[in-house]
Symmetry: C2
Subunit: 140 residues, 2 copies
DNA sequence: CTCACACTGTTTGTATACGAACAAGATCGA
DNA sequence: TCGATCTTGTTCGTATACAAACAGTGTGAG
């Protein structure tokens, strides 16, 4: 009889559980906000709340590497939510700013995003939700 | 002064935190087990523990849709860890089985995978780790 | 027995995600 | 001022992930 502590239990591994919990969250998000992905919404939210940022700086502020943030911003620009202008003080940089449509979209969607977070955490009691977020925050 | 409960706080949204915690986990996994991705390892683990499965069934058992599991299995076959034979009882199906190399790799890597789970949860106390996994499990 | 339906694996298109390499621009020490 | 070094944005390659469409196969109700 093998030691149960040594048996590999896929269903109790953090990585596997996080992947599945995230799948559920992504489905809820896509259902609640079909026009933007969670990643795009995160970038838009940060930009609306910080006002202005270079592309790579926004990437760092939202945990996306340079290659990833590029695609995300390309799509937000194509949707007309983000405007880009060259930085007069640094010719390498692109200054990003939300357009009025981008700000309006964020204001309209933020309550929905709150609802999606609530729906994701719905299986937990209010106290458990706070405990879970606190623990999760420490794993970043 | 805006109601702080209505303000959108990106850093307290489950989706954003799960994405970041998962990034940290993926980095730990890639460092500890460079030869396989977490997804590939999950598929191999399930196959080693179930013995045999069709491609789509294995996908369902590991929460991957048909398109995703195909690529994962293609790569595991290319590495020589999984063998595929046509199912004699159903001409649509492909029967998958771990190769001896696949079993050996799983036996060798399972302890490392355990260590990666431990490293991911390292910021938490033992009691917090169990609490976190229990809560996370309920969000799938 | 048939035929509608379900299921299998495949392909295409889109969207993260990251490593690696690159050119152009900025910066700072010697 | 010059040059090593860093930063910025870009591109390429690889790997999940999922929706949608597809052809081939199996199955069960009538």
């Amino acid at each position: 009889m093998p030691d149960p502590d040594q048996t590999y239990l896929l269903d109790r591994q953090v990585g596997y559980l996080m992947r599945r919990a995230n799948q559920r969250h992504l489905a809820l998000f896509a259902q609640g906000i079909p026009e933007l992905t969670p990643t795009q919404f995160a970038a838009l939210a940060r930009l609306c709340q910080s006002g202005q940022a270079s592309q790579n700086a926004l990437g760092r502020a939202t945990s996306m590497d340079a290659a990833t943030i590029k695609g995300v911003i390309d799509r937000l620009r194509r949707k007309g939510y983000v405007a880009a202008t060259p930085d007069p003080g640094d010719n390498r940089r692109i200054l990003l700013e939300p357009t009025p449509e981008g700000r309006a979209a964020f204001d309209r969607l933020a309550p929905l995003a709150h609802g999606i977070t609530a729906a994701t955490l719905a299986p937990l009691s209010p106290a458990e939700r706070k405990a879970f977020l606190d623990l999760l925050e420490r794993l970043c």
